[in-house]
Symmetry: C2
Subunit: 265 residues, 2 copies
Amino acid sequence: MRYFLHLAYDGTLYHGWQVQPNTLTVQREVERCLSQVLRQPISTLGSGRTDTGVHASHQVIHFDAELPAGLEEATVVYRLNRALPPGIATRLLHEVPPRAHARFDAEARTYEYHVRTVPDPFSVAHSLYLDRHPDVEAMNEAAASMIGSFDFTSFSKVKGGENHYVCTCYEAGWHEEPGGLVFRIRANRFVRGMVRLVVGTLLAVGRGKITAAEFKAILLAQSRVDAGSAAPAQGLFLSRVEYPEGLVPEAAAPTGMPYFAGRPR
Amino acid sequence: MRYFLHLAYDGTLYHGWQVQPNTLTVQREVERCLSQVLRQPISTLGSGRTDTGVHASHQVIHFDAELPAGLEEATVVYRLNRALPPGIATRLLHEVPPRAHARFDAEARTYEYHVRTVPDPFSVAHSLYLDRHPDVEAMNEAAASMIGSFDFTSFSKVKGGENHYVCTCYEAGWHEEPGGLVFRIRANRFVRGMVRLVVGTLLAVGRGKITAAEFKAILLAQSRVDAGSAAPAQGLFLSRVEYPEGLVPEAAAPTGMPYFAGRPR
């Protein structure tokens, strides 16, 4: 049987999602605990990688397993949460068709980047602090230039490893919230390092270092050299992964779930 | 001139509020940064101690200083936030009459204890996780028995160091919030370790280990031996310190301030 598992994790302590030799990654911990709870070796595949220090308030992975007879999915979730380290949690496990794929079937992903403009000692690990309020209008004018299909080479971390750099961006904008701002970007796919480079460059717009028109020119240049520096990992959350209707139960939607929120409430 | 400074801090990294030899405390960091920003040695006095690992979303301290000519209070706040480590922040500095006292003039203090009943990887450092939902009604029945003036010897950490154990409790109760619960207790004063022992014992009521009537009997016994074990420090926040009208500006009220909230929003 194939299963989807819905996860949230604090990236602070982990070298990203993906298993790498001799490093502590979220995938390593999840596979270790799944294998322990299900009493069989489990390999997982995530909807996408998150880099070192990046959080996920909603990550979806798949794996194949035979659940021991009589063991309900909700019981697996409960036992898994007891086994997992405190910075990783799961809320939902459900069976999917045998060829369902956490990565290839994902239709859209949403990332959020959290900025504080009022010093907040409790969100240090989960946001970027700016001591001046950025120009949100200018940042949103720049962000709007990404809506549609564009080659994001300018905002990719490295050449290589990707077939192409075209992403279709459905939503990109900043929203005020008490004491800070959240940037939300929803697209069919993301290239490596994209959100942190986009946010870093938008923050340069917000500080008045470059204009919204210059941001658009950087995007259209398809050249990595002009983008700003990457925003730090601690403000970034993978916050939603969407699948075709019917593949994932309604209950998986992150709306209103406290640990699926971009930041704790 | 005497000043009140309003602070918030994440207690995770600190051995409580009060300066002790050879340990990292919040007071030590605040005095170091105040002395640096004001260019004179500064000694502070807090409204009360917080123990190792306990947070404050609103702590008030006083100190005496001559502000350099032309240096505005808001500028001191700005510079102080730049100097302070990320887990400590200030929002307000204001002059008070020369004999105003952060501890003796405080009329009420409020503590909050945060519990999660849904696993939340982002609030591990700021809450206690319970994997079963406690009986809130029973806990609130027990909590109500503390309203009024009682000798809290049963819920004090150690005998000694206090003149008396009588506290007048104005509010004590649990409130549901998404994914968890908050216990709020407001009193004229607290004895050492009181909130953690009260919460630990209330959680025993919530698990059905003791009844609300037994909780009340423990309180009235004025004996430390019967109380439950102390709830862990990481869920506890000093969340408000109140003074007589006029001593503290309206702006100091924690309502709606993101980092004055018991937990990050």
